[in-house]
């Protein structure tokens, strides 16, 4: 599917966020070789230079690494992937609790509702 970008934020940052999610969700598996910059740019429909910048940022975060001449790979470091996943989860949890609070629902009730209304597969029963 074609990603939708928000023109109000730097495109490269949005790419970093998307690829980070692809890594923690396992769409890109640990140790997997990534497609070339140009291929990635084409699938995401962005400028190859922007993709290059995003990958450089992910490399800074150590989520990917470059093997000289062979291209770029997802990190083998499972602990790092778990850590990043937890950080993302933290953000989502904050969002959930904040939006529950905004409609007047306390923390305890929010937790209860999560189990009650969330359904077993984690998807709303409604």
């Amino acid at each position: 599917m074609e990603p939708i970008f928000d023109n109000e934020r730097p495109i490269y940052i949005q790419l970093v966020e998307m690829i980070r999610i692809d890594i923690v969700s396992g769409k890109f598996e640990k140790g997997q070789r990534l497609p070339s910059v140009r291929e990635l740019a084409l699938t995401m429909k962005v400028n190859p230079n922007t993709m290059q910048k995003a990958l450089a940022e992910l490399e800074n975060e150590k989520l990917i690494y470059t093997e000289r001449t062979n291209g770029k790979y997802v990190t083998e470091d499972e602990a790092l992937i778990e850590k990043v996943k937890k950080e993302l989860a933290q953000e989502k949890v904050n969002q959930y609790l904040r939006s529950m609070k905004s409609i007047g629902i306390s923390y305890q009730t929010a937790v209860k509702y999560l189990q009650e209304l969330g359904g077993e597969d984690g998807i709303s029963k409604v």
Binding site: N7, I11, L42, K45, N47
Partner: protein, 231 residues
């Protein structure tokens, strides 16, 4: 060396200054948006770079040389208005391009036309406006050029055609080459731009990497442009 360099470039028509003291450089491997309202000098600047007009004063250098035979070989130009003879068939236009430009990749053009289900023996005047625009873009993008200059490639096309045009630009420009896209329809193209140049009343008012500008202003290029040139 810069691909294009303009030094104090001026252009007058009938003593009216259309371009005033343009200083500009375009480096290799970038997609650049030349953004300005209608009638602000975008097309004049493009025509000067393409050697279709001569400067009143100042200079333009393409790869360090004055525009001429050499620059015409390395620049692939999509003009705002069509120059194709509409009585021609697609196959005739392909032959015409092949003879005219040594860097025209006919097989590539044929493949792209095939993806569009466009028949090679179709006459241009029998094609819809959108199809004619796509044909022209395919011709221009099928050259192995160092610089692609697209003057208003999105003028008057529907959203699906617009997506096709952006895709074709992204997937077909030669690695290391640059693309200059002039337009006033900013929101449609801004996500593919490396750099933006704002031009107004014949002057360059801003040049910046696109993402840097978004980060600094916390807004889209389109929004920044509107703020800049509020009527």
């Amino acid at each position: 060396m810069e691909l294009v360099k303009c030094n104090n470039l001026c252009k007058e028509f009938d003593q009216k200054q259309i371009l005033k003291n343009i200083n500009l450089s375009i480096s290799k491997g970038k997609i650049i948006g030349l953004l300005g309202k209608n009638g602000t000098g975008k097309t004049t600047l493009i025509k000067l770079i393409n050697d279709l007009l001569t400067p009143t004063s100042g200079e333009i250098l393409i790869n360090g040389e004055k525009p001429g035979i050499h620059s015409k070989q390395i620049i692939s130009y999509l003009p705002e208005r069509t120059y194709l003879d509409k009585d021609m068939k697609v196959s005739q236009v392909l032959r015409f391009f092949e003879e005219f430009y040594t860097n025209f990749r006919k097989e590539k053009a044929i493949k792209l036309l095939k993806d569009l289900d466009l028949k090679i023996d179709a006459k241009i005047n029998k094609m819809s406006k959108g199809m004619q625009e796509k044909l022209q873009l395919i011709l221009v993008m099928s050259r192995d050029a160092e610089l692609y200059i697209l003057d208003e490639p999105l003028g008057g096309v529907d959203p699906a055609t617009r997506d096709y045009i952006l895709d074709t630009i992204l997937s077909n420009f030669k690695e290391g080459a640059s693309v200059v896209i002039s337009t006033h329809l900013i929101s449609d193209i801004e996500r593919i731009l490396d750099e933006v140049i704002f031009i107004d009343q014949g002057e360059i008012v801003l040049t910046s990497p696109a993402d840097e500008l978004r980060q600094k202003e916390n807004a889209s290029i389109d929004e920044i442009f509107r703020r800049c040139f509020k009527c």
